[in-house]
Every structure is written in C-alpha cells, then in structure tokens.
C-alpha cells in the first residue's frame, strides 16, 4: 500500500529510496534483483519442468527452457493422475477444496466479525477476560488439540465429512480473527456508534448499516488470510476430511508421494502449480480492492 506522505514524515524512513548517489543506487537495485531472482527461481523451475516431457527432464538441464513445450502434464495432473479414491486427477480435489472453503470462510468471517464488534463497540460483561482467553487460545497449536477435536467431531457426527473440515477451520480461526476484527472496530470513532444508537440502530442495525459499510478493507484482509490458509491447509483436511472427498492439497500429496512406478516430475510440478494458482490469483488481485480513506468525513474536518 502507498504510504500517505503525512504518515511517512512521522516514520523513521529515508524519504527517497534509493538516494541520488549512483553507486548506492546500483547496489540497491542489484541486491533487489538478486533477491527477486532467488525467490522466483523455484517457480521458474516448476513452470518449465511442467511443460517438458519426461525424456527432456531426464537430460538433467533443470534451468533450460522446454524444447517442445506441451501441456500434457497439466492435463494429466488435472484429469488423470492417481490422486486418491477415484484416481481422476486433481479436479475432484479442487471442487472438494471449494466445498470446504466457502462455508468455512463464510462462518469464520460471520462469527468473528460479530464477536469482534461486540467486544469493541459494546459494553460486554467480562469483556476483558474474554479477550484474554481469546489471546491465549490464538496461540495454542492445532496439533495439541487435534485429538480431542477429533473425539468431539465424532461425537457430533462431523468427523469424516467436508463440512466437518469447514467447522474445524472456523473454530481454529475464530480467536485470531476475532482479535483482528476487534482491533479494527475499536478504531471506528465511538461517536458514530453513539449516533447510531440514538438513531435507533440497536446491536444489529448498527452493525449492518454503520459498522459493516466501514469495514470492506478489513474484510478483504481477513478473506485473503482465510482463503489462503484454508486452501493451503493439509493437516485438517487429512485428519478430519472425508476419505472420498479430500481437499486438493491432500490429493497433491497423494500424487507426489506415489511409491510405485516412474516419478513423473512434470506431472508433479503441474499438479503443484495447479494447487497454488488460486491463492496466487487472490494475492495478485487483492491489492486493487482496498479502499483508501473510508472514514473520511465522519469527524470534524
């Protein structure tokens, strides 16, 4: 995000990077380029390998461009690879991931935003205690509570279902998301909430008509966090998911961990790329969705 000049002047940052000195300018761009190349290298190798044939891969020139680029490996990975129960490639896993993602995204955002709103804008009894509890919960690793969670999900018949995976994702995300929302809503001017209360917007009216319209930015931030987090999750999907409907990441693992036959690196690379594309797209396009200066005009000029 672009830094507002007035804020920039308060930050301990040189105003212009790099300086006018040609030597430091060169060094600056050189370093940046080196890091960029280092960071992009694996991605490059993945893409070129996925476009090569196995014969070409065996030649061992991993940085060389493909001689006869073909999308056969991508087709294989998407449609036919041995990915799990039905051996029909990644496409079923893709839809399983979507089916897991949508309810967990909706539930986690809905619950945590309301909790955060209540804690930030209303006088909740024992609110500070609840907040402390959330803080503690946010730092408990999933592995620690995995077994009791499995027992509980079995008891409520959610174990071994895609919806069960969604519920577990929602539960795991609630503490940290509630804190994020709480901190954001606390920055909304208190008088706006008061004005809404006088105007007859009670708890829900104030939330829906006053607070939510001010919150698209934080919603986008949370949505990005949740989409990438849930999409990239492997452990919850594997432990709680439906054996017949594993998410894409589990399918990817099944494809690449095959113990028999030839290791088809081009298919592995294509499968990994396919799995990574949705979060990548989210990152690329999310920057444009932020709205600057949303509370402008609420308070004195």
């Amino acid at each position: 995000m672009k830094i507002d000049p007035s804020i920039r002047s308060q930050m301990i940052l040189p105003n212009r990077v790099p300086s006018k000195n040609p030597v430091s300018k060169t060094v600056f761009y050189l370093l940046l380029s080196v890091f960029a190349v280092l960071f992009a290298m694996p991605l490059y190798v993945m893409i070129v390998t996925s476009l090569k044939s196995m014969d070409e891969i065996r030649m061992g020139h991993i940085f060389a461009l493909p001689i006869t680029p073909s999308f056969d490996a991508w087709d294989m990975a998407w449609n036919k690879a041995a990915s799990g129960f039905d051996n029909a490639g990644l496409k079923s896993g893709f839809w399983n991931s979507v089916i897991i993602l949508i309810p967990s995204l909706a539930m986690s955002v809905a619950f945590s935003s309301v909790c955060g709103y209540a804690l930030a804008c209303w006088n909740v009894k024992m609110g500070n205690f609840l907040l402390m509890a959330l803080l503690v919960c946010a730092f408990i690793p999933f592995q620690v509570i995995m077994y009791p969670l499995i027992k509980m999900s079995v008891a409520v018949k959610l174990y071994n279902t895609s919806f069960g995976v969604s519920v577990v994702h929602t539960v795991l995300a609630l503490p940290i998301l509630t804190m994020i929302f709480k901190n954001y809503f606390a920055s909304i001017p208190e008088e706006l909430i008061k004005a809404s209360r006088v105007d007859g917007g009670r708890f829900w009216g104030t939330f829906v008509y006053v607070v939510l319209p001010l919150s698209p930015n934080i919603m986008i931030v949370v949505a990005i966090m949740q989409i990438t987090g849930i999409w990239n999750d492997f452990l919850v999907g594997l432990t709680f998911g439906n054996v017949k409907a594993y998410p894409m990441t589990v399918n990817l693992n099944n494809i690449t961990q095959t113990q028999t036959g030839v290791r088809v690196y081009n298919v592995y690379m294509a499968a990994a790329m396919l799995t990574a594309i949705p979060p990548l797209l989210i990152y690329f396009f999310s920057g444009k969705m932020f709205i600057r200066g949303i509370t402008a005009g609420a308070l004195k000029g």
Binding site: P189, E191, L192, K194, A195, S196, R197, V198, D199, G200, G201, R202, G205, Y209, V210, P213, L214, G293, I294, T295, A296, G297, A298, L299, K300, G301
Partner: protein, 363 residues
Amino acid sequence: MSTVSVKNIDKVYQGKTHVLKDLSLAIESGEFLVLLGPSGCGKTTLLNCIAGLLDIEGGRIEIAGKDVTNKDPSDREIAMVFQSYALYPTKTVYGNMAFCLRMKKKPKSFIDKKVQETAELLQISELLHRKPATLSGGQRQRAAIGRALVRDAAVCLFDEPLSNLDAKLRTEMRIELKKLHNKLKSTFIYVTHDQVEAMTLATRIAVMDGGQFSQISTPDELYEHPANMFVARFIGSPAMNFVAGTLRLDGAKSILVTQEGLEFDVSHYPFVVRPSNGHQVVLGLRPESFHRPTGKGATYQLTNGILEPLGATVLYYCQLGGTDVVVSFNPSDLQGVKTDQALEVSIDLDALSIFDAATELRL
C-alpha cells in the same frame, strides 16, 4: 409535553470515580437549557446519561413524563448532535438524515418528505446527495443538526456542537440555532464550556462544577447575582474582580472595609443572610461597574494602569488599593487619560456582589 426531569442521579465510573453526585434538574417544555462548566465537570456525562448512552448508578430520568431510566436511547424520543458531528461517512447527507426514520420503519414517502422539509429549513437541500467527506465544516454541522431534527424528537441534545467551527462560523451558527429554537419550540439541552454561547443561547443555564450544579438560573440572573464565587468567576468576560475585606456593621449602616482600608458603603445591599460584624468577605465587582466620577458618592483611585483598546471598549488593567482589577470603559471615557497617573472612578454600588470568604457563597 417534552419536559425532562432528572432526579437524584448518580454516575460512578468503574466503581470509583464519582462523576455526577445526586443531581436533580427539571427542564420545562420548550426550554433552551445550557449545561455550562469547565472541562471535566461532568456536563457531557450528564448529557450522555439523559441520552441513555451511559447507564446511571442511581436516580431516575423522565422524558415527556415517562420514566426512561432503563430504556435504550432509541426509545427515549431524543435526538443528539455530537461534537465531532459523527456523520456516517459512507452515507450521503440524505442517507444520514433518513437513517433514523428507516430504522423506525417509516414509509418511504414519509421519509422523503421529512428529509426534504428539514433540509429546506437548514438550507442544505442542494447537499443532500453529497457524502460528508466532500462537505465543509459548517455544512457538516448543518447536516448533523438536520439528522437530529428530522425525527421530530421531544428533546434535542447538543454536545458542544459549535466547538469545532472557526470563530466567524460559530457566531453565525449560534444565531441560527437560536432562530431554529424559536421556530421549533422544542426542548433543547446544550452542553458547552463557552460562556458566551451559554449566555446568548440559553433560556436557562445550569452551571456545573465537580459533578454538581453550582447554580441553575437565567443568564441575566447568573450574571447579576452569581450564587457563589465559582459562577462569578466563570460567567462574564473579562471575569469579575474580587477584593477581600471585612464587614463593619454600624447601626443601619453596613460598611465593607478592604485590607488596604478602602471603604464601600453597602447599606443597600440585599443580604441573603444577615452577616455579623467583622465578617470576612470577598467583594465582587464587574469590570463594567466602574465609571468616571459623576460628582456624588465615593470615588476610588485606580493605579498602575495599562490600557488595552478593543475597539468598542477599552480594558484597563490596574490596581484598586493593592488588588489587581480589570475595568471596562467606553473609549470616550478615557480621552486624555495618562496611564502613569492614578485614575479617579466611582463604583456602581448596586451592581456588586458580596461573598463569604470562607464558603465562597453569596451573602
């Protein structure tokens, strides 16, 4: 019927800070009551309690004859204008004004009619489609007042609504608010720390100090007969001059003798409480109660003066006896006066106030 009655209310923050102490106040229908006091005196807290935005720890609040002590702000038939305006930034001016009517599920045609009428009254019809961010400070102020007026509430609450405007705009809006009140005849409760705003707007002023009322009275009464030294100090600019002294009762005559030996004949002073001989008192003199000698009555010497011409009046910073005082003169009164000389003045003995030196209460 849009009276407001506050009965013995207490507000305690977090169980320890006792902000409002057993306050009672009855506001008549159609009054323009100003809550006036220095910052931290509890005036905004009291307003928030009346609005229902803060719960009270004791007492009872009635609006339009109904007990609203435990009711939600939206059920109290009140409207409120906030210091920061608190306009909803994502809604247009129209949306801001229509919001409370929408929340009350009024029909669309009714909402439209009310908003247009109110906008016309405040001359903001051409701003209705604009967002708050594109408005100037004065326009936002009008929009905020419009949002409060649109619902025909029994009582309108104002929380220092003019304090964010520049001096010129503030004067303009002050007059408009007064006109508005005359036209609407609804009950206004208005919080400010600006005594000029209070004096010009109010039909009655409640002066607050430390969570209690120092005096509740009309502006004139507050100015002429302040009930204690706090009110005397707070109302009037420049502030009232105080001179310490002792009362000497001599038959029908009462003489106030200052520490420097100046004597004031206060035989005609309407004492509320009959003082005793030798009572330690403080004499309160308004800057306006000094005149050039008229020939009758006692005269006094003002020394070490410094002139501060303000155009319509001239302030004269000087000493009366050994006490620093400020005197306000007409410029014509001071023609030919040299500041290095003592200035002879007479004092309007009907306009003075006398306070008990120990309790600071009016005698």
